[in-house]
């Protein structure tokens, strides 16, 4: 028997005649939701950027040969001492080759796995950068520039030159920006490298690399796999590392376990390698949501207060409505619909304000050495935030309206009318 048209009409009249209070309540929601959208978009944008900083460059599974002592020392195998306590002093790591045995077939095998987006080889080696009589220690990494750019967004960290240029230049090198500064080198110059086992190789600089981590940029450079193999005097199957990128990051742990068992290699998944980083992300998200929810709850109390006051003011109206045949439920619906209208209007305005502010923030310049690709503050324009925002606005106003409206439902008209 609820006649919505009449109820909404009464609710509308109440709201419009008390436009000041209505807009105060709606503004509470607007600011709550607007701040939530701004905060959550900005914070997750920053989080996403920091995640990308690590995750884009980091392989989901990193496979290499770990230098470690044998788990079983010879004495453990000897039956005579089986039941005695053996102490071995000064254990040395086992002498193994740095290269991954049968690396190329393993790469092919991994690339056939349907979870794997790509598995690419790398060669890591220590070298010296030679300038005049000064030798600077450093790392040289042999890569497939094009695949590296495709899978690990390498291009984002090349501040001058390109991955393609490295691919096309036979004796090219992508020099870390720190070394380039130290040695006053520019694109087109030559830099001389010396591997640990001797010899000097001049390489042509085709670009600069800046990871954002200054210590790393002061030692690390990239070149083609073949160039490293030539410098080290190794064969074409000499590969020290395999980096795997997956479609789904959650597959990293099981896959790394499987690889360790299957190939007797060390395989580190991204979650293990960056555990503290993950913790940081989780805590930042937690703070974001805690602050947002606080804002929304405060807005909810604002609505609660204003509706409560409205109901005290409208005691006579409630009594008269009940006396002329409106049921308690009708009266409750009148006040509930007011709360929901306030929530909806305030919420939608809040979304617009949030969109407005995030767009402004998105144009504010933000340049830092650590993040070569970022020019403005990062914003995550995720439609889900807007959905959550409006849902929360509706839910909080629903509860803020529910309690006062329940009171209105229970008001005894006789008491009001006789009490005058």
């Amino acid at each position: 028997m609820t006649n919505w048209k009449v109820i909404l009409n009464i609710a509308k009249t109440h709201l419009l005649t008390k436009i000041k209070q209505t807009s105060t309540a709606a503004l509470g929601v607007t600011f709550g939701i607007g701040a939530y959208i701004t905060l959550v978009s900005f914070m997750t944008g920053l989080n996403g950027m920091l995640d990308d900083l690590i995750l884009n460059q980091t392989p989901h599974v990193h496979i290499y040969n770990e230098i470690e002592p044998s788990k079983k020392q010879p004495i453990d195998i000897y039956d005579e001492f089986e039941n005695s306590m053996n102490i071995v002093h000064s254990i040395k790591p086992k002498l193994t080759q740095k290269k991954i045995h049968n690396a190329l077939p393993i790469i092919n095998y991994l690339n056939e796995n349907e979870n794997v987006r790509g598995a690419i080889p790398q060669i890591k080696t220590q070298i010296f950068y030679i300038t005049g009589s000064i030798e600077i220690g450093g790392n040289l990494i042999g890569i497939n520039p094009l695949e590296e750019a495709k899978l690990f967004n390498m291009q984002d960290y090349i501040v001058k030159g390109s991955a393609g240029a490295l691919h096309n230049t036979d004796n090219g090198i992508l020099l870390g920006i720190g070394i380039a500064k130290k040695m006053s080198l520019d694109i087109g110059d030559r830099v001389q490298l010396s591997p640990i086992n001797g010899g000097v190789f001049p390489l042509k600089i085709v670009g600069f690399y800046q990871s954002g981590i200054a210590d790393l940029d002061a030692i690390q450079s990239f070149t083609n796999i073949k160039t490293v193999q030539r410098i080290l005097g190794e064969a074409e199957n000499y590969i020290t590392d395999i980096n795997v990128k997956l479609f789904n990051i959650d597959e990293a742990k099981p896959l790394s376990k499987k690889i360790e068992q299957q190939f007797n290699l060390t395989a580190i998944d991204i979650n293990t390698a960056n555990a503290q980083f993950q913790t940081g992300t989780t805590i930042r998200n937690l703070i974001t949501y805690a602050v947002s929810i606080t804002l929304l709850i405060v807005a909810g109390f604002g609505i609660y207060n204003i509706l409560n006051m409205l109901i005290y003011e409208k005691m006579n109206d409630i009594a008269i409505l009940k006396a002329t045949g409106f049921s308690g439920k009708d009266v409750q619906m009148i006040f509930m619909s007011q709360a929901i209208i306030i929530g909806l209007v305030g919420g939608i305005l809040g979304l617009l304000i949030g969109l407005f502010f995030t767009n402004i923030i998105n144009t504010i310049p933000f340049q830092t050495e650590a993040l070569p690709t970022v020019e403005t503050f990062p914003i995550n324009f995720n439609p889900w935030f807007y959905l959550i925002g409006i849902s929360f606005a509706m839910i909080s106003t629903f509860f803020a309206g529910y309690l006062p409206s329940k009171k209105a439902k229970k008001i005894d008209p006789v008491k009001i009318i006789r009490g005058q």
């Binding site: 009449v6 006579n316 002329t324 045949g325 409106f326 439920k329 006789v414 009318i417």
Partner: protein
């Protein structure tokens, strides 16, 4: 003569602050078209009785019949519907929704009832206002009309659903003699011309004397 309202052995107690027997075995009938007034001293329970008869107060013992149907113990929803359809109210203080126009105030119970279309309701409301000679106030806000006019608007609102009975709780109590007369004449006219039943609680002896029947109350009982 058909019976519009009947009270059978209605008893009511106030529990706070102390147990107090307000109404003692109230029995009476009101016939269709009768203009009845209830008189009595302050505190004798006449208003309490009226609110029980109006179905708003459900905390009583006994039986209440409207149009020969027992409504004691009905759900609140149903009582609301009965109030809406069968009972019209006029109070001492002219309870109007001050933010709505006069016309909207009159139309509201009919909109709630929802039996007629909006243009029909509007037409009816204008007609009722015309009967009460205040149709020129239709567009004014309820808060902007005078006291006597407000009471007439309240009467028009009470009439809108063509109720079986109109109840008044001191409807002239707050009006000067001119406006009191006016309201009485309107009631009388409605009773005579349209055969409307009226039950009015009043202090005003002149008012009561001119009605068809006076129910005299004292100490929670009907004296005659």
């Amino acid at each position: 003569m058909s019976i519009v309202l009947e009270s059978r052995n209605i008893n009511k107690y106030f529990k706070k602050p102390v147990l107090f027997h307000v109404l003692k075995d109230i029995n009476f009938k009101i016939n269709k078209g009768e203009f009845t007034s209830i008189m009595g001293k302050s505190g004798c329970g006449k208003s309490t009785l009226l609110y029980i008869l109006s179905t708003m107060d459900t905390d009583y013992k006994g039986e209440l019949l409207i149009n020969n149907e027992l409504i004691t113990g009905d759900s609140r929803e149903n009582l609301s519907y009965i109030r809406n359809k069968h009972i019209g109210f006029v109070f001492q203080f002219h309870y109007l929704l001050s933010e709505f126009s006069v016309l909207e105030n009159v139309m509201l119970p009919a909109k709630k009832l929802g039996e007629k279309s909006l243009p029909e309701i509007k037409h009816d409301a204008m007609q009722k206002l015309k009967i009460l000679d205040i149709d020129d106030l239709a567009k004014k806000r309820a808060s902007q009309v005078s006291g006597g006019e407000k009471q007439r608007v309240a009467i028009a609102r009470a009439l809108i659903n063509n109720p079986s009975i109109i109840m008044g709780d001191e409807p002239t109590g707050n009006l000067d003699s001119h406006n009191s007369d006016n309201v009485f004449n309107i009631f009388k006219q409605l009773s005579d011309e349209q055969g409307l039943s009226l039950l009015v609680v009043t202090h005003d002896e002149d008012f009561a004397k001119r009605t068809d029947r006076i129910i005299q109350m004292g100490d929670g009982k009907i004296i005659n």
